[in-house]
């Protein structure tokens, strides 16, 4: 009996190896066919013009000043959105951890609402709020704070607002988890040893939450680099990011080589940033 069981256990363990392989085939085929293969194909394409090897697509990025402007816009936007998200998101998350359980659940629900709302719906809302004769301008005019409507949509400003709105939940949720895991006794101990609240925060709480903070900031920055919908709709043609240029190169100019070269640069930057976040922030960015 025990021998038979033993044999069965062995075959069970053996078939696991085969079963694993079988289970992986379809999903990995899918990723390879739809993501990896086209990416490699386009990557190769970016190094050729009319079938002959060439660096012309990359040379153009250096020679043509409009490309420099696009890179600058993309990085400025990602940088600004990241800074605002971190500066606003960190204290907000901290405040949520200080709330009594019921209120913190309510606050987290408020953070979750935009998270579950369609990206287009939110972008539409911001277009309505920020446009020339929109809600915000109406309120500001009524309050007498401004004399003429401000130009808030179709601009860098509007794009920034829309993107911060999208990134905040992405930043707050993981940071909240990492702040909750900090032992409250540590700050209490610092206080008990005579530290002022500011010192206890700066010397104990901040360093302990630093990893989550850095990982979150890097993730925010990386995600911002790839934005397409928000700059397109809230930028109204005045904010050209890398993603928008890639789309234009494909759809408007049918220039796959130029689009691919930009895509290669974007992938390399994103890859390096993710690598950095892995090295700096540990597993936080997963």
């Amino acid at each position: 009996m025990s021998l038979q069981l033993n044999a069965r256990l062995l075959t069970a363990l053996e078939t696991r190896g085969k079963a694993e392989l079988a289970l992986m085939v379809l999903p990995s085929l899918m990723i390879v066919a739809l993501v990896i293969a086209p990416a490699i194909w386009l990557g190769v394409l970016s190094f050729s013009v009319d079938g002959a090897p060439s660096l012309a697509h990359y040379q153009r990025m250096i020679d043509n000043s409009s490309y420099a402007a696009i890179f600058l816009t993309t990085f400025q936007l990602a940088g600004l959105v990241t800074v605002i998200t971190v500066v606003v998101g960190y204290p907000t998350t901290y405040a949520i951890t200080l709330l009594p359980p019921r209120l913190s659940a309510l606050a987290l629900a408020c953070v979750a609402i935009p998270f579950w709302t369609s990206l287009l719906v939110r972008t539409y809302a911001w277009m309505v709020i920020l446009q020339r004769n929109g809600i915000l301008n109406g309120w500001l005019l009524d309050a007498g704070l401004i004399e003429r409507p401000l130009r808030m949509s179709n601009s860098f400003f509007g794009t920034t607002v829309g993107m911060v709105h999208i990134m905040l939940p992405f930043f707050i949720f993981p940071l909240y988890a990492s702040m909750r895991s900090i032992d409250g006794n540590l700050t209490r101990a610092a206080h008990g040893l005579g530290a002022t609240p500011t010192r206890a925060f700066l010397d104990v709480f901040l360093p302990l939450s630093k990893q989550g903070l850095i990982a979150g900031a890097l993730l925010t920055f990386v995600l911002c680099l790839g934005f397409y919908v928000t700059p397109q709709l809230l930028g109204g043609g005045n904010v050209t990011t890398l993603s928008i240029k890639i789309q234009q190169n494909v759809i408007v100019y049918a220039d796959w080589g130029a689009a691919s070269a930009l895509a290669v640069v974007l992938v390399v930057i994103v890859g390096l940033m993710l690598l950095a976040s892995r090295l700096l922030g540990g597993r936080g960015a997963d």
Binding site: R8, A12, R16, E20, M24, P27, S28, M30, I31, L34, V35, P38, A39, W41, L42, V88, P91, T92, A95, I96, T97, L98, P100, A107, C110, V111, P114, W116, T117, S118, L119, L120, V121, R122, T123, Y124, A125, M127, V128, I129, N133, R180, G184, R188, H191, P197, A200, G226, Y228, V229, L242, S243, Q247, V250, I251, W256, A263, L266, V270, L274
Partner: protein, 271 residues
């Protein structure tokens, strides 16, 4: 944790809570604006509306194009969920067993669609579909959305499997159960919640996807998001407020269904 706030000076606490309230208001404002506006009677976007009506809902439900796009979107999201969930669960099940280094590399492969900027997925799939004649086809759209949704299912299922005792499955197999039966009968019921969460993510990912759809989901298979994007670029049609409110209700319904299912799931586990 609560006792940490005992050490915050009252002034600082006021400052923090004020910021919190402003940020939370900022976060929910768009939803608070869109829903009332969808019931406006005016041709213009005014807030709060001076008169109320269902006219934008009537426009929506009276438009063949909007209804068709909505139907297509729901069909695609449904099929994507049906495809991505089993594939993602299979991948996660295999990943959780394989050796550490291989698993790490393969996990990276499965998570790729989440990390790569979506515009790159978009042009890649478009480039491929032109050659395969799949542009604007339902199978093409579903396959692309499935690739995008796969990582969500893999991640949620993996997190469920982390707390699952694999010896239970091995025990079932050593007692003669086929590996697939052992998985379906023993493992799956215990990670049901995680799988369900992954399925919900897959559905919403597909329903909400814009960029890839801009490239490959036009013509007869125009998706709701693509149609919305196009009309947003041209004009701020109040019909979009009605569409948006419907989408908000749909995601709330999705989350509520999940929570109810999660509730009953917990009950079953306890009994």
């Amino acid at each position: 944790m609560e006792s940490t706030n005992a050490y915050l000076s009252p002034w600082r606490r006021v400052w923090l809570y004020a910021l919190l309230v402003i940020v939370l208001f900022f976060l929910v404002a768009p939803v608070l604006v869109v829903v009332p506006m969808s019931f406006s009677a005016s041709n213009y976007l005014e807030f709060p509306p001076s008169e109320w009506s269902f006219r934008w809902y009537e426009t929506f439900f009276g438009s063949v194009e909007w209804l068709h796009a909505t139907r297509t979107s729901l069909t695609v999201a449904g099929l994507t969920t049906l495809l991505a969930t089993p594939l993602g669960v299979a991948a996660a099940a295999a990943l959780s067993r394989s050796r550490v280094t291989t698993a790490q590399i393969l996990k990276g492969v499965f998570l790729l669609p989440q990390v790569v900027p979506v515009i790159i997925l978009g042009i890649g799939v478009f480039f491929l579909y032109i050659r395969l004649g799949l542009v604007n086809s339902l199978p093409g759209i579903v396959l692309a959305h499935t690739a995008l949704a796969l990582p969500f299912v893999v991640v949620t299922t993996l997190s469920g499997l982390k707390s699952f005792d694999h010896n239970l499955e091995i025990a079932a197999q050593s007692l003669g159960a086929h590996p697939i039966r052992a998985f379906l009968g023993i493992t799956l019921p215990r990670i049901k919640l995680s799988v369900l969460a992954g399925a919900l993510f897959a559905f919403i990912t597909s329903l909400d996807e814009v960029v890839i759809s801009l490239f490959i989901a036009g013509g007869d298979n125009t998706l709701l998001t693509r149609k919305m994007f196009m009309s947003l670029r041209d004009q701020l049609d109040p019909t979009i407020a009605a569409v948006s409110s419907i989408l908000i209700v749909m995601s709330i319904v999705g989350v509520v269904i999940f929570m109810v299912a999660a509730g009953t799931g917990k009950g079953e586990r306890r009994s």
